[in-house]
Symmetry: C2
Subunit: 173 residues, 2 copies
């Protein structure tokens, strides 16, 4: 009798927890954008889209990679990107290369230094409907996602690139 | 009878041509370094090694890619690179991005502009013994290799990076 009682209690607790999680998810979606909280596996093996450099506070080097769905859409010039497309921006410090400068005989060479963060755009037009069909993700070098306050700045800026489905990076042939 | 004669003549001509080609190849190898004269197929799909920027006259953006043998050696920290490794440096103009600067609200963003050339290092320790086991290739945007005078400048510079088997680019994690 006791065992049945305990099991029932567990069932009730699990049930309540499940309902709570679903309700919380629902509330979150209604409350605002949702973000990418897990790094897509295997992204370091993806094909190259292009490279970029930001001066100023960022002082960053980026290599922008895409999964097969993203690369196919880029190569075919297909917009908007289809669901399943994922774009990854791998950021590094922008540092001078002592080796290269020595070989060249002058200071002109910059390379990727320590990795700083990886950002993702994941296309899922239903899940991320509130942010133009794109889920945004930002993972610092420790692999952890950053807080929602930071993440809320992604969409307003990417929204400025309506003509390329919110994607800044163009494909480099 | 005529047919046999014609065939014999063809055989002689082909034979002579073959010998001439072999002799010419031999002479070339003895005369100096040999270069990569064909672009390795499929290189645009290779995995990323790293990115680089050169200021000055070059004003270039590079994405450096590797075939599977090169990537494996890089990831395992294996030196010298094994035969079959190929490294490709895809060069573009280093240009400001009007779109990105507008979105950021300040001039800080540089992207890959028009492609300028693709360079290759092909590891084959026998074929390219005269140049440290690496065959060097440089193809301008028209897909054509450049002249030998230009190509002869590759090895002397790469030779300065003995500690990394003549390869400037380090792997970006």
């Amino acid at each position: 009798m006791m065992k049945v009682y305990v099991l029932s209690l567990v069932a009730i607790v699990v049930g309540v927890a499940g309902l709570t999680a679903a309700a919380s998810r629902q509330a979150k979606q209604e409350a605002g954008p949702i973000f990418v909280t897990q790094m897509p596996p295997g992204y370091r093996d993806w094909k190259l889209i292009s490279v970029a450099h930001e001066e100023g506070n960022l002082n960053s080097f980026a290599s922008v990679l895409g999964n097969d769905i993203a690369i196919k859409a880029y190569r075919e010039g297909k917009l908007p990107f289809p669901d399943g497309a994922i774009i990854a921006a791998l950021h590094y410090q922008f540092v001078p290369s002592a080796d290269n400068n020595k070989a060249f005989g002058r200071d002109q060479s910059f390379v990727a230094g320590a990795p700083t963060n990886v950002q993702f755009m994941v296309k899922d037009s239903r899940k991320y409907a509130a942010t133009g069909g794109w889920g945004f993700g930002h993972f610092n070098n420790d692999g952890k996602p950053v807080d929602d306050a930071f993440m809320k700045t992604c969409f307003p800026c990417h929204q400025k690139i309506q003509q390329r489905d919110l994607v800044f990076t163009r494909y480099a042939p």
